[in-house]
Every structure is written in structure tokens, then in C-alpha cells.
């Protein structure tokens, strides 16, 4: 993967997508369908087909993709990434599209839970005090403290915390 993008103002959606994809591009896609037939989700439901998602983007149908359910159904198995003959970074594109959807307010509920947990506890799955106390009885060493403070500093630097707050306001 080429991760060499410099900071630039994203003036178009394509440019924004490319930036979020760390310099990779979907324009290499020639619609061969290898990703579709390697996708475990596409085989089960017509609601998600990676080739079609990319096709829609190449045709400029940004809103349909960002507001739709398809991009949330990718299971991130990276099978398409392995097989794509054009080395299109499809899973990365899915994440980037979700990032953009998140920014525009299209958020499945479970994600706002993750976001809150990260901010509050530095983890997406909270380790309860009850579980922590049980550790010695099981024979496990005590848990080291979580770097909540550090993670909050990062979330502030990347403006992740603004995203989360935005969600709370509209909920």
C-alpha cells in the first residue's frame, strides 16, 4: 500500500476519499468482479456488493453510497484485498466511506457506543470493575491501568472528539 499522502485541501469528494484512503485510489477498478465473488457477505445478501459500491462511486453517486446501508455490511475480511488484480484497497475504501458517512451524520447506533467507550474508557469494550476484581481468583495478574489520558489527547488532536460530540447533540 502507498501511504504517502501530504496534507492537502480536499476540494472534491474523490480527492477526499483518496486522502482518507491514504493516497490509494479506486479509479484503478475495471469492474472485473473478483472482489464480489470473493466477498462472503455479497454471497449471502444483495444489499452489499463491493464491485457495485465502487461502480456507484466511479459514476459519482456519492450520496447514495454514503447514506446507504451497504457500506456498513462489509465484514473487513480483506479477501477482496488479497484477490483484486488492480490492487484496489477496497477494505480501506469502505472504512474511508464510513468515516465520511460518520462526519455527515449517518451513524449506526452501535458505533456511537464504541465512540463513547473509547473516549470514556480508552477501550471499545469496557473492562468492568467486577471483572477486574475477579482476576486474582482466576490466577491472572492485576490489570495495568489504561492510558485513557493519552487516548483523549489523541482524540483531541485528530478531532475525533468533535465527531462524537456532534453525534450526541443530534441524538
Amino acid at each position: 500500500m502507498n501511504y504517502g499522502s501530504e496534507e492537502k485541501l480536499a476540494s472534491t469528494f474523490a480527492e477526499e476519499l483518496r486522502q482518507r484512503m491514504l493516497g490509494e485510489t479506486i479509479t484503478l477498478c475495471y469492474q472485473c468482479g473478483t472482489c464480489a465473488s470473493s466477498c462472503p457477505v455479497a454471497k449471502i445478501t444483495p444489499s452489499f456488493n463491493p464491485r457495485e459500491v465502487i461502480k456507484l462511486l466511479l459514476l459519482g453517486e456519492k450520496d447514495e453510497v454514503i447514506s446507504g446501508e451497504a457500506i456498513w455490511l462489509c465484514c473487513s475480511c480483506y479477501n477482496c484485498d488479497e484477490r483484486c488484480p488492480q490492487k484496489v484497497a477496497i477494505p480501506l475504501a469502505m472504512f474511508a466511506l464510513r468515516n465520511i458517512a460518520f462526519k455527515e451524520g449517518y451513524i449506526p447506533d452501535i458505533y456511537s457506543e464504541f465512540a463513547s467507550a473509547i473516549y470514556d474508557n480508552g477501550r471499545i469494550v469496557t473492562i468492568s470493575k467486577f471483572v477486574e476484581k475477579k482476576r486474582p481468583t482466576l490466577g491472572l495478574p492485576p490489570l495495568q491501568p489504561t492510558g485513557v489520558d493519552a487516548i483523549r489527547k489523541i482524540l483531541s488532536a485528530t478531532e475525533f472528539d468533535k465527531l462524537q460530540l456532534k453525534k450526541e447533540e443530534t441524538s
Binding site: 468482479g33 473478483t34 465473488s37 464491485r51 457495485e52 484477490r83 488484480p85 488492480q86 490492487k87
Partner: protein
Amino acid sequence: MGEVKVGVFLADCGNQLPEILDFKALNDFTKKVSDVVLVDRSNEFWRGEGLQTIMTAVRDGTINRVVVAESLPKLSEVNIVQAVEEAGLNPYLVEVIDLKDHCAWPHRETPKEATEKAKAMLLGAIERAKLLDPIEKLEFPVLKSALVIGGGIAGMQAAVDLADLGFEVHLVEKEPFLGGLAARASRFFPTDDCATCIQSPASDVKTITHTSRKCVYRSGFSEIPNLSILANSKIVSLEGVPGNYKVTIEKKPRYVDEQKCVACDLCTTVCPIEVPDEYNAKLNSRKAIYMNVPNLHPPVYVIDESVCKFHDCAKCVEVCPTNAIDLDQKSERITLNVGSIIVATGFQEFDSSIIKEYHYDDYPDVITNLELARMIDGFGPTDGMIIRPSTRKPAKKIVFIQCVGSRDRRYNPYCSSICCMISLKHATLIKSAYPDTDITICYIDIRTTGREHEDYYEKAREMGIKFVKGRPTEISRDSETGRLIVDVEDALLRRFLELDADLVVLAPAMVPSEGTKELAQIVRSLSRFEAFLDEDGFLKEYNAKLRPTETKLRGIYICGGATFPKDAPTTSLHAHSAALKAAKFMTTGKIVKDQRTAVVNEEYCGDCVFCPVTCPYGAISLVPTTEEHFVAQVSDLMCEGCGICVGTCPLNAIELRHSRPTQMLAQMKALTSVNGTSKPLVLAICCSECGGTVVDSSGMAMMRYPANVRIMKVPCTGILQVHQFLEAFEVGAQGVMVVGCKSDGCHYEVGSQKAEKKVELARTLLKEYGIAPERLEMLNMVFIEGNKFAEAAQTMTERLEKLGPLQLTEVS
């Protein structure tokens, strides 16, 4: 050198130029220049009476330097130079300038200024002419013999062409038999003839009639005079120079005497060793002594030394009726001297086992198109039946997969161009012979670009061959039934398919052959630069448009699949082209080249390696001298006269004979000696390729730019040194424009890039001296950008006007 006597000839172009330029003033001005002994004027001087005038003046000894102001500078120059030589003067003592395109046309609205500029131009030409040296023509011998490497259809065709033309040709093939890949392909599109035909290159030898084709064994190919065929032979080393290459070949032993073998096949009946036959995709086996199929050439059996038991067995020796088998045969080293070389080492199929999800390596029923071709071939291992290798039973459900390793950025990003046609050919042949076969072709795009190619696609659909637009993700196998399952999305139908198949045929990418890779290593020793292969490993032509079968190495030509996958008709064309080029090269038996090349001043040359490393043509080598010191030496044969070495040398130890710094300085001084306009003088130094042509074209198209802009031509902007830019300002230029080819399109490869760097450095220096660096700029343009040049000249003029006159103080 003796007395210099310059004759100046002013052509008025059918009396057009005097409408703008004051020819009387030019005449008077020119007469007064020192060492000018003759000034003449006529309609034209490059032919007819005008030319006669020049020739007479030369013959009489009246003049010994010729300056001509003529239109159509390139065309006219050739004629004038030839005539001058005929008249007895060294042809390189001629200077031709273009008062029309460089002066009258672009400065049409300011005739007075144009006339002043014309004076400067004439002065520049005269001062340069005075400093010109006679330049000799050298002759280098070219042997009238050729080596053709590769005995496939390209190599055979090229070899026959050259042999027919009377050259001595040596055809070297590393396999024991000729024919290459094509011989195994069974049938060809679009002619539907069989592979054995294609092996008989068209020859004009009297033994053949004018029919369009003949089987190779009836073609008399091997009896063509001047053509010697060395099969089972490899190139070991290559040395030498264009026109005189020395090649060492290792002829590996066949262990069968070519003069005695009658191809009776008795030996194979007694040979105890049997191995899978790679020629036939290992679908059958052959013996240790073998000829894979009956019609191969040369018709001499060969022993596979890696499996033969030799004297521990020797059964074949006992049984051979002509005593042709010689188990003690040794390999032979053969050295040849040839004038030219044609490389036709072909391509091969990509190794599909790399794409693991297709299981080419571990499912026997997954095969490639080449292997299928062996099955289709009536002479092949399955008698023309299409079978499943796992069961040897007929295959009734076949799925083709296109673009296996082609158009794939993980392996070969290019399209291999012929695989769609090969699969269509195979599918239609199979369907014709066995109509009850179910065939599906999985594709990304169907490419049928040649004449009659689309017919195959149509025929295939008509015959009921199915097409699925989708690239399969994987092939799996049912563990119980052994049947193959091709997992593919039909993108048009938006449906996922699991295609059941007996046999899956992969259309793999076509990649450079092993022989091509090996040869590239050997060729590397001939030249210092890596110009032989492109980034995909194919042989690289010098210029795709104009020199498709030539390489950067003079005398070495390329053709066929080794340059890029191609079909048989295109290969044929390619081979003819290479043969023609080789013939042109060899036909006079010599290379005649003038010495407008670089020459080293050994006193100054300082043991560095800049020029050999920079020369794009590998023309400079380092030779040791007696005192543990080495100097650069230029090969007049290889030098192209660009001068990039001159621009690179840190000690001014190398010069171009026809573009010496003294000549350039004299010309610069002359061009800036006369202004005649109210504008600041600009010197535009242009290369003789794109830079020069863009200036020409701005004039030809009658663009307008001011007359304070003076043009000076150099072979390549790469010749220019930093101090020369500064000199230009010293002699009176207020601004300097350096006009060269585009950075990625310099006709001498690296010249304009080097010039850019030097311009940058010079600008830094100017800044240090308190001189505005914008006075010096580099422009990269092409011929059609004449308007851009005119604009740039105008812009520079305005910029200099704003900056005001340049004040240089004399330092004593």
C-alpha cells in the same frame, strides 16, 4: 590554416524578403566584415544557378568558407553541403542561416529592426564560419553477415529475408528444434492454417513456387544458400562494435550425427528411458532419444543428456541403421564475426501456479491455452481429443478464464493482446470438432482488434459458446467427484455463479522468454546502459513510432514476441522490418560517419568519471595512460555529437569539433553586437532538435515577437556550461533564454534535464552577483508550440524592460 576567405550568399526567396529586409544595407554591411571576400544575392542559392555560383566560387579558390542565408534551412543545407563537397571544399566549412523564419517573418511589422537583426545574424554566421575546422568523414567496416538469435517464426523469417538478399546468415536456436512457441500452437488466426505452415517463412528461393505457404519440411528452408542453422546452441558471449560483433556460441551435443540421421524412429523403440514430454504439456511421454513430433526441423533426433544412460545402455547405437548415434559427441565452441544481430527470442506463458487460488499447480484438470493447443493438435499427445488429464476421458464442460496474470498489477500490468483471440480460436475449434461440448469463457473485456478477429467472437456466440463477464475469484474442486467449480460473479447479470467444469483453461499472460532474460544479461556487457529491456522485461525498441525494430545499440535489431506479445501476422511484419533494417545497415559494407564528434584534450583530462557515466550512448571509455592515470576516450563510431559530455566536464577537457566554445563565444558576440531596436537584447540559445524547431515554427507560422531576440543554435542544450550563461551577459545580452526539448523527451535523452540543472545553478550565481535571476530562464517546448515561444520572447523582453538595463562593472 592559411587565409580565411568567406563567401556570403543572400537568397531573397523570390524577391519576397526585400519587402521587409533592406537587402542593399545587408549587402553593404556584409561586404565590410573582415575576411569576407564575396557577397552575392539571388532568388535562391540551394539549387539551380544560385548553387552553381557557389560551386564556381569554391572551385576557383575564391572562397574557402561558405555562408548562405537561405530558406528551408534543413533541406537547403543538405543540397548546399553536398555541392560544396563536390566542388572540392570540406563540406563542414559551411554555415546556413534562415533570414526568413528567424527574422523577416516574425518581425514583419518592424522592418528596420528586422534588418538590424539580420545584420547581427549574418555577422554571427560569418564569425562562426571563420572559426570552423574541416571535419573528416570516417569509414567503419561492416561485415555483411548477420546473426539471428532465436529460431521461432520471427527469427526464421528474418533469417530467410537476409539470406535471400545475399547476406551470410547464422540462425541460432537454443532448443534442439526450430519453431518456437508458435510451432506448438497447432492453428493460427485469422488464417486457420496449421502451425507447420507458419514455420516455412516466405522465401524467394527458386525452389519454391509462388504459393502463399508450404509446410516447412517441403519449403527447402534448410537449403537456402548463405543460411546456416545452429540448433541446440546458445549464445555464450557477445563483444565488439556495430558492424563487427564477435559472438561465441556453444553448440550442445545432440549425440546424433546430423549428416547421418534419417529420422526412422527405430532408436525410440528400444530406448528404455521414458520421461514426461514438456513439449506436449507432459500429457504424454517421450524417450531419452526423441523428436517430439514428426515434422520438426532439423529432422535429426536428439538425446536428453539429463536422463540418458549413455554407454551403460547404448541400445539405440546398436539399432541405428546408419550409425548416426555418437554418444561421445562433445559440445562445440563456435566463434563468429558478424555485422549485425537480430534478436528474436520470443515470449512464453506466465507461470500460472503463482496465482494460487487457481490451483494450476495442484489440480491436473486446470491447464493453460498452450497445453490445450497440444491437445487440439492432431499430431499432439491426445490425437486431437480434448481430455481431462486426471481421467484421460473426454472433457465435455470447459471453462476458459481470461487475463490470468495479465492486466494484473500484482504480476503483469499490461494486456497480453493475443489471449482473447487464442481462447476464441480454441473454443471455436473445439466446438466445431465436438459440438456437444459445453464451453464458457469468463472475461473482463473481449479484445478482438485485428482484421477478421471480430468474426471469431461472432462465430463463437453463434456456436453457443457462453460468455460471462466476470473474473473468477477461485477454482475449487469437489472432493468426492473431482469436478472443478469456478467461482465467479457475472457482473452483467449481478449473479454469483458456480460453474461446473471438467476442464478449466487459463489464458495466462505472455511474458518475456527465459532466453530473452539470459540474452539481456549478455548484451549488457556490450553497452554501459540499460537500454535493452523495458520495465516488463521485454526488448525495448529505440522508438515505437519510427524505429520499431531497432534498438539503441546500432546494428542490433529486435523482432517478434520478445518485444511484446503479438500474433503471427504481426510477427511476420516485424521480422521483415528487422531484416530490412539490418540489410540497410550492412548493404554498403561500411558505416560512413563524419567526425562531428567529441574530442578529449588529454592534457586537461583529470581522472574523473563524469563523461563516461553521463554519455547517453556509452561512447566514452576510460583508458589508462602510462603514469597510473587514465583519460577519457571517445569512440567516433558511437558518439552522436550532442555535447552533453562537454557540458558535464568540470575541466573543459572535452570539446565538440563542430561546436567549440570559441565558436560559440564568437557567435554570441556577433549576435549581440548590433541592436537596432529600442529593446534589451535577448539571446535565445536553442538546441537543434525541439528547441530549434519551435523557433522555426514560430517563424513559419508568422507569429510575432520582437527583433531584439537573437537565436543561436547548439546541438543539444546539454552542451552548455554555467560560465557560458554568464558570458552571454558579459558580451551584451540583457536576458538569456535556453530553449530545449521537454525534460522527458530530450532527443539526446538527458540533455535538457542537465541544462535545467545548470540554468538553476547559474541563476543562483546571478543572484549572488546581485543580478536578477529572472534574466535567465529555461524553456522546454516542442515544434507545435511556436506561439508559446513567441509569447515567451515577448514576456522576456517586457520583463527586461521593467528590470532596466543591466549594469556590469569591469573588474581589472
